[in-house]
């Protein structure tokens, strides 16, 4: 199958992107300044990310759709206000995570942002679960552009008036060049920022205007270091079908009201794990030296017993040191527990730590 290109492909080329294939798309891993500079520029100013490979699923329906989606997602959707967003997951009957996602209530139904590698499968699963009762569109005609970092609010507001009044985890329709764009205040970097759903034909123009106002394109390489410093999970690495939201330490994202009723896919397992505890759990891990422990690195306790594995590990440019997360046996998950990481045959000391590695500076908004 030929790899797909996003609407910003030409712009990426113009900015000297290095490309990689990711989930069937030609995506920029970095530009000429490199991952560390792009990372720091996002933290200090404003970075633009082409995330058009991600799925934008529109599901249209009313109260019946809300009831049906509550059988799937562990969310209190009937009380989700118009234009408000929630983080959630698509689980199988064993509560294994098939994808993690952001769901937003829009006028005519819901908009769900899905991971690129999962979106086609998610679409199939959801269509089946909803018995093809509702109109569902995995919209290929819209691009998704994220702008992240402390200067992003002002920069985007200069291009699309009014966005700076959005609250965190909420969105609305705005107008750019007479086109309807849906913008949410959200992101994946630990910084204040926005995600913009824009018709493909206008994605290039919008992005060039943001660059003219002082933002810069940032590749998937820095997106990964930014999200890991922010303690955020990457599907296929930190999350997969063999892990539940409770094991992933994401129980905050499960509605308490829904747990009490327990009528969603995977709820039996979730309730059992919440009551009885789990055997493995996701934690932050900080190596003591400069050694970088990457995905699949084995974790040992002080008695040299294998207790877990790293699922993401890199160098954090803002932390100025290595950062990682992974799963360990529950009894070793307490903060400051000393563990050892096996890298190239040698064991290196590390400590279990709380997440995030880099403190968030999300803006609540104007209200």
């Amino acid at each position: 199958m030929e790899t797909k290109k996003t609407s910003l492909y030409q712009l990426h080329q113009d900015c000297n992107a290095k490309f990689v294939e990711f989930a069937g798309y030609q995506m920029p891993i970095q530009y000429s300044e490199g991952i560390v500079e792009e990372h720091k520029f996002t933290r200090n100013h404003s970075g633009i990310f082409d995330v058009s490979h991600m799925g934008q699923l529109f599901i249209y329906g009313g109260d019946e759709l809300i009831r049906d989606l509550e059988k799937i997602f562990p969310l209190d959707l009937k009380n989700l206000k118009l234009n408000h967003s929630k983080y959630s997951f698509l689980m199988d009957k064993d509560a294994g995570i098939q994808d993690d996602l952001i769901i937003t209530k829009i006028d005519e139904g819901f908009l769900i942002i899905l991971n690129a590698a999962c979106k086609d499968n998610d679409f199939k699963i959801l269509k089946e679960l909803l018995n093809e009762k509702y109109k569902m569109v995995l919209d290929e005609n819209r691009s998704l552009i994220a702008i992240q970092g402390p200067k992003s609010s002002q920069i985007l507001n200069d291009v699309v008036d009014g966005v700076k009044d959005l609250n965190f985890m909420s969105g609305n329709w705005f107008v750019f060049e007479n086109q309807k764009v849906y913008i949410t205040r959200s992101g994946y970097t630990g910084e204040d920022g926005f995600e913009i759903s824009v018709p493909n034909n206008f994605a290039d123009k919008l992005t060039r205007e943001l660059i003219d106002k002082g933002s810069k394109l940032v590749g998937l390489g820095a997106r990964d270091t930014l999200r890991l410093e922010a303690g955020l999970c990457l599907y296929g690495h930190d999350l997969d079908k063999n892990k539940t939201p409770v094991e992933a330490n994401l129980k905050w994202a499960i509605s308490k009201e829904r747990i009490s009723k327990g009528d969603f896919i995977g709820s039996d397992i979730i309730i059992k794990q919440l009551n009885d505890g789990v055997t493995k759990i996701r934690v932050g891990i900080k190596p003591e030296g400069r050694i970088i422990a990457r995905e699949k690195t084995k974790i040992f306790n002080q008695s040299d017993v294998h207790i877990g594995e790293i699922t993401s590990g890199t160098f954090g440019p803002s932390v100025n040191g290595p950062v990682a997360m992974g799963y360990v046996e529950n009894e070793f998950s307490k903060k400051n527990t000393k563990v050892f990481l096996e890298v190239r045959g040698k064991k290196y000391a590390a400590n279990i730590c709380s997440l995030p590695f880099y403190k968030k500076s999300y803006v609540k908004g104007a209200n």
């Binding site: 490199g34 991952i35 390489g221 400069r290 970088i292 160098f315 440019p317 190239r344």
Partner: protein, 126 residues
């Protein structure tokens, strides 16, 4: 002035007397991206031609550093361990990796000169 030679693994080597200074090439740093970690051989240890003699890691991945000649490690550059970004800044000069007291100067013969290496690097741009 001694001539600088180059290996297919993208190391450079400069011989002065029987002491060789070794580092990685600018081309290697461009392929690796931002280097954030460096590990060097121990002083006093012996390394064998084409064997592993260190590691560099970029934000993306880890790569072995090989030695193009055999010898005893007589010095290592702690500055690049403390601040690996120096490798990107000045790879073929102040950001050298280690110095070897070499055993067999003829091991240098199979290495490339600058023109040959530049050609090689252009053809192997991956």
């Amino acid at each position: 002035m001694s001539e600088v030679k180059y290996s297919k693994e993208h190391e450079w080597i400069k011989l002065e007397g029987d002491v060789a200074t070794i580092g990685i090439t600018k081309h290697a740093t461009e392929m690796l991206g931002d280097i954030v970690f460096a590990e060097l051989p121990e002083k006093g240890s012996n390394v064998e031609k084409d064997g592993t003699a260190g590691v560099v890691e970029s934000t993306k991945a880890a790569s072995d550093v090989y030695t193009p000649v055999s010898g005893e490690v007589v010095d290592t550059n702690q500055e690049i361990v403390d601040d690996p970004s120096k490798i990107n800044q000045d790879p073929e000069n102040s950001a050298w990796f280690f110095k070897l007291k070499i055993k067999d100067k003829s091991e240098m013969d199979s290495l490339m000169n600058k023109d040959d290496y530049d050609k090689f690097a252009k053809e192997n741009n991956t």
